[in-house]
């Protein structure tokens, strides 16, 4: 599994997930399930490490379940998708066999993006707390 391909597939999943959320009436669960099903069916047939890439796409599909208050714009979803792809790539040996591990990576990526943004005043020069 290569990091570059993981990121590319993660970004594609993030883009499709965001678009489906914005342009259709599908529920968050339907969008995530559809993306997961597509990834699990297609990627193992295309790549030798397809199962690993499917994990990346599945984790990113959980990112796209974020509310529009958290991730409103497509670039925000893509940035978090990038974080998430990298986390899944480097965290392959973490929480092995524990259900919910991909969701944990997704949540970590979303929080890594949204928490600093919500508290950006704290990082500005001259602002005292």
């Amino acid at each position: 599994m290569t990091l570059i391909l993981s990121i590319v597939l993660g970004l594609l999943t993030g883009f499709f997930g965001h678009t489906l959320r914005q342009r259709t009436q599908l529920s968050t669960v339907a969008v995530s399930s559809l993306l997961t099903l597509l990834a699990a069916l297609a990627l193992p047939r295309i790549f030798t490490d397809g199962n690993q890439y499917a994990l990346v796409c599945t984790a990113v599909s959980y990112v796209t379940m974020s509310s529009t208050e958290r991730l409103a714009k497509v670039w925000e979803t893509l940035t978090v998708s990038l974080f998430c792809s990298v986390l899944v790539y480097y965290g392959q040996d973490v929480l092995m066999g524990i259900g919910g591990r991909l969701g944990t990576f997704a949540a970590l990526a979303v929080l890594a993006f949204t928490v600093p943004r919500a508290h950006r005043k704290l990082f500005k020069k001259g602002v005292r707390t």
Binding site: A30, L34, G99
Partner: protein, 167 residues
């Protein structure tokens, strides 16, 4: 505070693993102590508003977990496809809030059969997941991956308490 402590449990374990600490017997004892501390705090910090609602969520989550686990392991669909199929079926037959609970259950059912050698552990984790869902309903709202984190919390609680640790 208690809610955050609960939902952060998978992140604590992941950090320990990333930092290179093998989750062996000693670490399991430390994590079990942390879990006991959370459970002592839980009745004060994590108010469970309505037991009937919690029981309903627990049962829906259990159905999702069992369906996904059995599809993944007995029909050899694999965890990803099993979770997606059960999630999609849920969107057809359930209301939106219940869809989320059944999807949470499918995440629990994605656990490896090596972690859950018997179905009773899946049942316990499924029920725990539904109850946690109600307890943590106001935590991390709108954060994608929250369901997975709650699922991982439920799985870790069951493994630490009944499943012989994380080794």
């Amino acid at each position: 505070m208690c809610r955050h402590a609960l939902i952060l449990l998978p992140l604590v374990v992941a950090t320990l693993e990333l930092a290179g600490y093998l989750i062996g017997r000693t670490s399991s004892v430390v994590l079990l102590a942390l879990l006991a501390f959370i459970i002592v705090l839980a009745p004060k910090g994590c108010r469970l508003g309505d037991w009937k609602k919690a029981l309903r969520s627990a049962l829906i989550c259990l159905v999702g977990a069992l369906a996904s686990f059995l599809l993944a392991n007995n029909l050899d669909l694999g965890p990803l496809m099993a979770s997606a199929v059960v999630g999609l079926l849920g969107t057809v037959v359930l209301k939106e809030k219940d869809q989320l609970v059944v999807y949470l259950g499918t995440f629990i059912g994605m656990s490896s059969a090596l972690r859950f050698p018997t179905l009773s552990l899946v049942v316990l984790a499924g029920l725990t997941g539904g109850i946690l869902w109600e307890m943590l309903s106001e935590t991390w709202n709108g954060v994608g991956g929250r369901l997975g984190t709650v699922a991982a919390t439920a799985v870790l609680i069951v493994l630490l308490a009944f499943g012989g640790g994380l080794q």
